[in-house]
């Protein structure tokens, strides 16, 4: 049985450099229901992102934009752009761990 992931709720999940020292990601949710789940701070928050991407929680910035059904996440690039160990020059494939996150079925419901 395959779990429902954030990607299933989104029409696009993307990541990209925001300048050489930051990476930024966006979840474009399909609708307000999907947005409610992804924007639920008890489900997706700075600590969860820090664990998923192995970065410092205090450096993670999250923006929730209900008018666009978007959750945006930014944090400093853990590996310098273009350095020997940078395997993703534009940071364009780093959305995948986020996109694959299984959603909690209770997330976003009225409690």
């Amino acid at each position: 049985m395959s779990e429902t992931t954030l990607a299933d709720l989104a029409h696009e999940v993307r990541s990209k450099n925001a300048g050489p020292f930051w990476v930024t990601m966006e979840l474009f949710l399909r609708d307000a229901d999907g947005y409610r789940i992804a924007a639920d701070e008890s489900f997706l928050n700075e600590r969860v992102i820090a664990e998923l991407y192995r970065v410092e929680e205090s450096t993670v910035q999250m923006f929730r934009i209900p008018s666009l059904n978007v959750v945006k996440i930014s944090f400093p690039r853990p590996i310098g752009q273009g350095s020997l160990r940078d395997r993703d020059m534009h940071a364009g494939q780093h959305h995948v761990p986020l996109a694959r996150m299984p959603i909690r079925q209770s997330a976003g419901r009225d409690r």
Binding site: K16, F21, E26, V70, P76, Q81, L84, R87
Partner: protein, 460 residues
């Protein structure tokens, strides 16, 4: 040209990058819609530190020539200016001269006589050290305070100009402005600001159009036209078959920026928290409510790159399921064997060189973050070596060559032969670079770090 007041300014943005190409009909359509200026970005840091570090353009000359021909012929007929920012990808002085040389050829071939301004944005370390010593250079997160040695280690440093040097060039009569490094937005904001359009709508429109058609329903179909006025701006695609929607326009504010609500420019901060996006019709969007807060201190952002070493790459591939089933152990053995053999044959300690072993098809892109665990079908093995000089990097890659050809897994009692992708297996990559500056300089005068030269040819 800026004497009479105007009610609105129309900015034509053909594409996100000079050299990316477009259908010339989209430029003609923008002119027919009343474009007052054509603005285009020719660079970015996005493709990595090599382009700044080596002062090499990412684009090929023929693509730049083709796009300049499209713009210069159209703008010349219409009598409107063309502004190109971040010439030569990184905006180094040689990048400006490179684009100026291509523009000269195009203008000669087309019989055009346009007044050209070149704006240089390259900075020398000694000049910046004075600013540093005077406490005028500050870090932007995540970097810390700047050290003088870091400035001196850079092969090239540029400052990202705001709109002011471009406006100065236009006021001096330039019909074509070829700017060094500029903020992506300054290129589109300069002309409307010169014409008295308000800062909030102008900078917001400039951000929305900086990638051409990226804010439309079909980013591949060409650019956009932004009409800026006293209360806001409207935006429409140049291709009549393409649409802008409130969502497609608002979403572009998110693109490549860490903060979706604010964007710092040299003279202040664009604030789009209260921006309202409404559909004028099914393909034109109106935006109002964008604000601009003038900063207490004018700042210019610096970009700098330095050499980290010289790299040699080697690439082999594995298809045998027996090895793939144990691929992580194979890679661990490979790393251990390379260090051992390099020590034995070249006498190099571990800290005298570095290498990255990447398993494409397994976990190369995400490395430790890779969530999948199943065995891959095939794996491309890239060995990337970094050493203080090219000969050493290649020597290390050559020492690894027999391992890249024959290394078995720890459990195998015979030598497999793996699939090298090319002969020779090693490719010398030359100097490798890293970005080391993410700092701003306090400036009293917005144009003081930049040099404006009229005419097509460099004086030197």
């Amino acid at each position: 040209m800026d004497s009479e007041p105007v009610k609105s300014v129309r900015v034509l943005s053909p594409s996100g990058m000079l050299g990316a190409g477009w259908d010339h009909a989209t430029i003609e359509r923008g002119i027919a819609l009343g474009a007052d200026v054509i603005s285009i970005d020719a660079g970015s840091t996005d493709s990595g530190p090599y382009y700044l570090g080596s002062a090499t353009p990412k684009t090929t000359a023929k693509a730049v020539a083709r796009d300049l021909r499209s713009l210069l012929t159209a703008a010349s007929s219409a009598g409107i200016p063309v502004i190109v920012g971040s010439c030569g990808t990184s905006g180094t002085d040689s990048g400006v001269d490179w684009v100026a040389g291509i523009a000269a050829e195009v203008m000669a071939e087309e019989g055009l006589d346009l007044k050209v301004a070149r704006i240089y944005s390259e900075q020398d370390a000694a000049g910046l050290k004075e600013h540093l010593d005077a406490g005028r250079i500050h870090p932007l997160p995540p970097l810390g305070p700047l050290r003088a040695e870091t400035l001196e280690s850079c092969t090239h440093i540029v400052g990202a100009m705001g709109h002011e040097p471009i406006v100065a060039a236009l006021r001096a009569g330039a019909q074509v402005v070829l700017a060094g490094r500029a903020t992506d937005t300054a290129v589109a904001a300069a002309y409307p600001l010169m014409k008295g359009m308000p800062a909030g709508p102008t900078w917001h429109a400039a951000k929305i159009v900086e990638c051409g058609g990226q804010c439309t329903s079909n980013p591949r179909a060409g650019g956009v036209l932004a009409t800026i006025d006293a209360d806001g701006f409207t935006i429409e695609p140049l291709d009549p078959a393409v649409s802008c929607t409130p969502i497609s326009v608002a979403a572009h504010m998110l693109y490549e920026s860490a903060n979706p609500f604010e964007m710092r420019e040299p003279d202040g901060t664009l604030d789009v928290r209260d921006a309202r996006y409404t559909a004028v019709d099914d393909r034109i969007v109106r935006v109002e409510g964008s604000r601009f807060h003038v900063a207490d201190q004018y700042t210019i952002k610096l970009e700098g790159a330095r050499i980290t070493g010289y790299e040699t790459m080697s690439f082999t591939a594995i298809r045998d399921p027996l090895i793939l089933a144990d691929i992580d152990a194979w890679a661990d053995l490979m790393r251990m064997m390379i260090k051992q053999r390099v020590g034995q044959t070249l006498g190099l300690a571990h800290d005298e060189y570095a290498f990255d072993l990447r398993l494409y098809g397994h976990n190369a892109v995400l490395d430790d973050l890779e969530p999948e665990t199943g065995p891959p079908r095939e794996v491309g093995v890239m060995l990337l070596v970094n050493a203080p000089d090219q000969a050493t990097a290649t020597a290390i890659a050559k020492v690894a060559n027999p391992l890249m050809l024959h290394l078995p897994t720890p459990a195998m009692d015979y030598l497999p032969s793996l699939a090298f992708a090319s002969s020779p297996a090693e490719v010398e990559r030359g100097a490798a670079y890293e970005f080391v500056l993410n700092h701003v300089v306090d400036c009293a005068d917005p144009t003081s770090l930049f040099r404006i030269e009229m005419g097509l040819n460099a004086d030197v």
